[in-house]
């Protein structure tokens, strides 16, 4: 049992190290490690886990790890796989954050980050365009997007409220649509 859990931890720590960025970036790593290398699961199952990881609260990578771990070794497996996937981040970021804090007063570091920020701004715009193609599919979703964007820019209201209201709006809009059509 302990050996199984250890294997789960190592497998997901490897996936964590090899995932750059977020969400989708993890999929090829999952396929290679869990299907090709360890034969723990199938392509179809991975797609299922991934789909559910996308539509439940939380980070996709973490959700998928919990899911695969749970399927393999129960609740404890889910927890161990999750700790595995975050472990490399903890180690690497702590070291880096420490290093950056100690050089952040240097001129060239400030210059470098000023350049990097311009790049990050564009990358966020790119991400929004990509997400928008999938999420803004009609007039109503466009309205939700515009409303949330404006409220997000102009007010200090916590994003939590937007998430709760938007989910409720989705349910109500679809119900209203169903009633209209019958």
């Amino acid at each position: 049992m302990l050996k199984d859990l250890w294997e789960l931890f190592i497998a997901f720590a490897k996936i964590g190290v090899m995932t750059f960025g977020g969400g989708m970036a993890m999929l090829p790593m999952l396929q290679r490690e869990l299907i090709d290398n360890r034969h723990w699961t199938t392509e179809e199952e991975i797609m299922d886990y991934f789909a559910i990881g996308q539509c439940t609260p939380g980070i996709i990578a973490v959700n998928t790890a919990t899911f695969v771990g749970q399927k393999r070794r129960g609740d404890l497996g889910g927890i161990v796989a999750t700790l595995g996937v975050v472990f490399p981040s903890l180690v690497i970021i702590i070291i880096l954050a420490h290093a950056i804090t100690s050089v952040s007063h240097l001129g060239w570091v400030k210059n470098a980050f000023a350049g990097i920020r311009a790049c990050v701004a564009v990358q966020i715009i790119n991400a929004v365009v990509k997400l928008g193609r999938k999420s803004v599919v009609d007039k109503r979703t466009l309205a939700i997007f515009v409303l949330v964007f404006c409220a997000g820019v102009l007010t200090d209201i916590s994003p939590v409220w937007f998430v709760v209201l938007a989910a409720a709006a989705g349910v109500l809009l679809k119900q209203w649509e169903a009633r209209q059509s019958c």
Partner: protein, 196 residues
């Protein structure tokens, strides 16, 4: 110290519970956290996004670790990360038991119909804030009131180049984001972007 760690855990528990999707989904929550707690500035957050994107590990997890470390060092990093993943663990372990009902539930699907554009809108709003920090000189403009002082021209030019090369030019549009970050850092150093 303990109360700070508890607050950190709770704040990231909320992020984990309400952010949907991957990558940048946690960013809007972190902006809101920056405003409400004062643990870090929005400029720091832009730097953290860059570092989290350029290092191994899921970006949301990296961000949590980084913010936690900035706020309360080593223990903070661990606490924030555990706070972020705790809701996932709870929710997924429950859903794994009722998988079929969850998948075929009409309300879940409809809820996501509304959630997805909202999540995109929140990320766009966060992107707007990053653009403001990266491309404008609001403090200089506030003093001089000259419109040409408002823009950080070098940064705007770099952003335009990144936009073009990452979207429309082959083969650079297929490059990994890390490469663009590295090049932008070099450009920033060579052309003294921070004016130092």
């Amino acid at each position: 110290m303990l109360s700070l760690l508890l607050k950190l855990f709770w704040e990231f528990f909320k992020v984990g519970l309400f952010s949907i999707g991957g990558g940048l989904a946690t960013v809007p929550f972190l902006y809101s956290m920056s405003a409400s707690t004062g643990w870090f500035t929005t400029a720091q957050l832009a730097d953290m996004i860059a570092v989290s994107e350029s290092t191994p590990g899921p970006m949301g997890v990296n961000m949590a670790t980084y913010v936690g470390f900035t706020t309360a060092k080593l223990l903070g990093a661990v606490t924030a990360t555990l706070g972020l993943v705790a809701p996932s663990i709870i929710v997924i372990l429950i859903i794994a038991r009722v998988l079929e009902q969850f998948r075929s539930n009409k309300h879940v699907e409809n809820g996501f119909y509304g959630l997805r554009p909202a999540s995109t809108g929140l990320i766009a709003a966060a992107g707007f804030i990053v653009c403001k920090i990266a491309l404008l000189n609001l403090d200089v403009y506030a003093k001089t009131k000259i419109i040409t002082d408002l823009f950080h021209w070098k940064a705007c030019l770099l952003a335009l180049c990144v936009l073009v090369f990452s979207n429309w030019v082959k083969p650079t549009k297929n490059w990994h984001p890390v490469i663009f970050i590295a090049i932008s850092a070099a450009v920033g150093v060579i052309f003294h972007f921070a004016g130092i």
